[in-house]
């Protein structure tokens, strides 16, 4: 497994397939036109059925008043115009952005810090600690939500118990929307550390030892070694983690459902919950599709910005 990512191979990865002389290569290409088509056929069918078709259908629905049954009535851009004046939509959008803005840096910093600790030469007991950091990975988002709801319960939770024991007064983790969102950020960070940490650990291991040793001989402090050598070399992984956590945060749903149901009230309803609610609870598929299209557009913009920064690692 580790052989996969030795630096030499890593540099080969993005390059073209090795050229073995013009003649055989050309013949090879002509011969093997059907085989790759067979290999990708299943994926193509699934892609068309469950990605292209829903995408196109969603766009179509967004211009109709479709309610899940009956006929489609085209109503032009009415859904979108209604969206512009929809306070609930803005609130969901704003909360989603706020959540993303808080969660992404938190996920990034924490998982990188944990990865650095777990690859540190000096720390003891790393293999047991690694299992501990992996535990949250085993929990489903629903169970994660339940765990943190249990911990941050207003009247019965452990956190408030400790706070009152220390002489403070109970904190309104569930009735204050902003605090409620904060709990979601903490829970989300805790839950996603394992996966991101794994990405960082693999990347840190790929940094040639000699770089760090040379810097150490030259008298660089641990902090200098981290910020001047490790961090820049981790840039591709950092971009990947940021992209993934951004998309993950924008479509957060299950954990919040179990943690506070988007509450108090609908204050912490994020976009996917808003789509779920309008589309499936109020059966307004046309309108929900319009919201979907807006969210989709936002994600495309996020991904495009990301890829401008890091075209190579995203495509290779």
């Amino acid at each position: 497994m580790t052989a996969l990512t030795t630096p030499r191979e890593a540099s080969d990865r993005g390059g073209p397939v090795a050229d073995i002389g013009p003649l055989p290569a050309r013949r090879g290409r002509r011969q093997h036109r059907l085989a790759p088509l067979i290999f990708i056929s299943a994926a193509v069918v699934l892609f068309i059925l469950f990605f292209l078709w829903p995408g196109a259908l969603g766009l179509l629905y967004s211009f109709t008043d479709y309610r899940g049954v009956g006929d489609l009535n085209f109503i032009g851009t009415e859904n979108y115009r209604e969206l512009v004046g929809d306070d609930d939509f803005y609130r969901a959008l704003g909360r989603t952005f706020l959540y993303t803005a808080l969660a992404v840096p938190a996920h990034y910093v924490v998982s990188l810090a944990v990865a650095v600790l777990l690859t540190s030469k000096t720390a003891k007991g790393k293999s047991i600690a690694r299992v501990v950091f992996f535990l949250p990975w085993l929990l489903s988002p629903i169970v994660t939500g339940v765990v943190w709801r249990w911990l941050f319960g207003e009247n019965f939770g452990f956190v408030n118990h400790v706070i009152t024991q220390l002489g403070g007064s109970s904190v309104a983790w569930q009735t204050d929307g902003t605090l409620g969102l904060l709990v979601v950020v903490i829970a989300g960070t805790w839950a996603s550390t394992a996966f991101n940490m794994l990405l960082f650990i693999a990347a840190i291991r790929n940094i040639p030892r000699s770089y760090l040793e040379a810097a150490e001989i030259d008298g660089a402090s641990p902090a200098q070694r981290f910020f001047k050598i490790q961090l820049p070399l981790l840039a591709p992984t950092s971009f990947l983690v940021i992209l993934l956590t951004t998309i993950g945060a924008m479509k957060e749903f299950a954990m919040i459902q179990a943690l506070n149901g988007g509450g108090p009230g609908t204050e912490n309803m994020l976009m996917v919950q808003y789509i779920y609610r309008t589309g499936f609870e109020r059966a307004d598929i046309g309108y929900a599709s319009a919201v979907s299209m807006v969210l989709m557009l936002i994600l495309v913009v996020v991904a495009l910005i990301q890829m401008r920064f890091d075209r190579k690692s995203a495509l290779s």
Binding site: V17, F47, F134, L138, S140, V146, W190, T193, S289, S292
Partner: protein, 272 residues
């Protein structure tokens, strides 16, 4: 010298690890408390009277066997199909060159940016029109294709030397045979890693099963769990125990495949 230097990092590591462990430990210990003790102040970390009554109530009130069975079917079938489709597609991306492969690769890349959650209403309509509503197949089939798996295999196969393929071709091995008999066995470690990850994703899936399943007899574990959480008056002692029960298969999986999971190189992989 070495020992002294290791003290600060070791302490930091263990403080952070303890913070990570605590939520689960508190949760687990609470599940062994009798209902009366759950909310009695002052809270104590260890249960005063250990009991499994929460577990027995949860087990008798919910049809865990059924939920386990449904979730296992979904997770296993999806995983097998995901591994096959990802290996074949990733192999084609890594070892063949054609303009349409390039275009399809960009299409697959796009799926990572536009997850099903985002186009949920129309995805639901498609699955319904295909006649898969309220069936386990309706959960399985749309989940087979994952960009993560395809990228993992693409990266893996691109490290296999082309000379190996040329040699096999000269020996008269056909393209399909080359893939099935030479390349696929080579990729076994990657197949194991993707299988573990895929199983975990499907075991924990929530939103899609929630949309597709209506008949409680077909509920998967997460949907069933959520029905306890969503109740007006949460019976915490049952909920804690039921949640713990739902984790057991993942814990067993982790215990068996710990080494593969920990050393998994998912650098080019994407979360799904």
């Amino acid at each position: 010298m070495r020992n002294v230097r290791s003290i600060p990092t070791t302490i930091v590591l263990w403080v952070v690890a303890a913070l990570y462990l605590f939520p689960v430990a508190w949760f687990l210990l609470s599940s062994f408390k009798p209902g009366s003790e759950l909310f009695s102040l002052p809270l104590s970390i260890l249960p005063e009277n250990w009991t499994v009554s929460g577990y027995s109530t949860a087990w008798s009130r919910f049809d865990f066997q059924l939920y386990f069975l449904n979730t296992t079917i979904v997770a296993v079938v999806t995983t097998v199909l995901t591994v096959i489709v990802s290996a074949a597609t990733g192999y084609a991306f890594a070892k063949y060159k054609a303009w349409w492969l390039r275009i399809f690769f960009i299409c697959i890349l796009a799926t990572t940016m536009l997850p099903t959650e985002v186009i949920m209403p129309s995805s639901f309509a498609v699955v319904r029109d295909l006649g898969l509503y309220d069936t386990l197949a309706g959960i399985i089939v749309p989940s087979i294709i994952t960009a993560t798996g395809i990228f993992m295999f693409r990266q893996y196969f691109s490290t296999v030397p082309d000379e190996l393929m040329e040699a096999a071709r000269i020996d008269g091995v056909g393209e399909i045979g080359l893939f099935l008999r030479i390349m696929l066995p080579l990729a076994k470690p990657m197949m194991v890693v993707l299988a573990i990850f895929s199983f975990q994703w499907r075991w924990n899936d929530y939103i899609w099963p929630l949309l597709i399943l209506r008949d409680p007899d077909r509920y998967t574990l997460q949907v069933a769990l959520r029905s306890i959480v969503g109740a007006d008056n949460i019976d915490w002692s049952v909920l804690l125990s039921a949640s713990v029960i739902s984790l057991i298969p993942m814990i067993i999986l982790f215990a068996i495949f710990q080494r593969q999971i920990m050393s998994a190189d998912i650098n080019s992989g994407l979360k799904d």
